[in-house]
Amino acid sequence: MRLGTRRRMRLGDAKMRYFDRLHPLSALVYFLMIILIAMITMHPVITAVCYLTAVIFCGMLIGFGKLLSSLAYSIPLMILIALTNPIFVHKGETILFFLNDNPVTAEAILYGANASMMLMAVFYWCRNYSTIMTSDKFIYLFGRVIPKLSLVLSLTLAFIPKLKRRYKEIDEAQKGLGIYAGKNFTDRILGKFRVLSILLTDSLENALETADSMKARGYGLKGRASYAIYRFTLSDLAFLIATAVFGVGTLTFIALGAADFGFYPSITPINLSIQSCVMYCALAILGFVSVFCEIKENLIWRYWKSKT
């Protein structure tokens, strides 16, 4: 009953998403690229672009309602981190006031703000990554390189939910018999220990059967193939190339020093040279390409629906 409802809820989530259809390789390169750029520098423009695109894209993936409730936590957290920094760091010219004989400076606060924004940008990009790059996509990608590892991963991912469920079952069975059902700490620890010991025996036993099931289906025969449901299309290639061009471009400019920026002792003015502006543009295109793709997908869907 309970699982059933959850299952239905998950089905309800099945939105039409461009990134779901994107080949895992393109998606992986895209995510790695943008997370790398977000982490590599403390330049406020870069951080801001990464943060903004991360949040908007997240909203497109999980829905803006859910995004809002997540922001309700993450924004106060950002402010907190920004305010914590000047307690530990006293560098900076613009002193606002002294806290216990130590200066609280505007630079330190801004540094904290930028660092927390970067943290959140990385957090939201990682979240987007895990929304899109489900385990099977990951396994598919790495299965090509190391087929054994990918199978092991797949087995493990299948095994973990089983373990969890069995743990709950055993725990409840033991409680229903009133074994170590007391409320004190020792009883609880001993009870958990019992449950784990049963779980261990049981899963060893079950693993034997799983191994049989694998053998029955020819596991161990020579010349094992690796099948995947993904196909690399022209549009995947186009996306990959665009990602590479804009991503590597941005990284090159960063390496050339277009994104050099310092907070202490005073904040460097934002660089508006041609080189830097080109870099900002490249990054903006890289960041927003995901958002545009999702918007395009939505528009196509609306258009298609209005026609039928």
Partner: protein
Amino acid sequence: MKKDLFAICIVIFILALVFSGVKIQSVDEYYLVHIDDITPESQTVFLTIRCDTILDNWQQLDPALRYEKYVPSDGVILKRHEYVLRDGDTVYDILDRAIRHNKIQMECAYSVNYASVYVKGINHLYEFSCGELSGWMYTVNGIFPNYGCSKYVLRDGDEIVWSYTCDLGRDVGCDWGMQK
């Protein structure tokens, strides 16, 4: 999960506040330090703060600090000046008073290992700001004491020099390294 993270951050924030105590002063309040007037009876010491070694190692200096306001062209941050010595004053006390009086930025940290205050930076020039081996050192009457500045109790007429080194003291005449 999110809630926990949030709660942990708040706790850290509050702990940080509590441990560092809460005493808030405005900038003017902080710099408003009474320096005793020098009278014929008062004991005095001399203090100089200089960073001329940086001028010889300009390439190693953090680009953000390559300005006159951080590194004066003559290498002197605080000219030699006479300060009244109060009973039991240490090197640190004099430095602190002088710095506040002249509204120079300084950051110190208490080091548990040495049971003393350790000077991290003066006038935005921090340790490691000019290469891996850079930092602040002091001499009293030309000698480098091998212990913390808040443990060194001064006597009348002492001559204190705080100097910035770019080479673990070798460039300012400290020979600890040689002895070993």
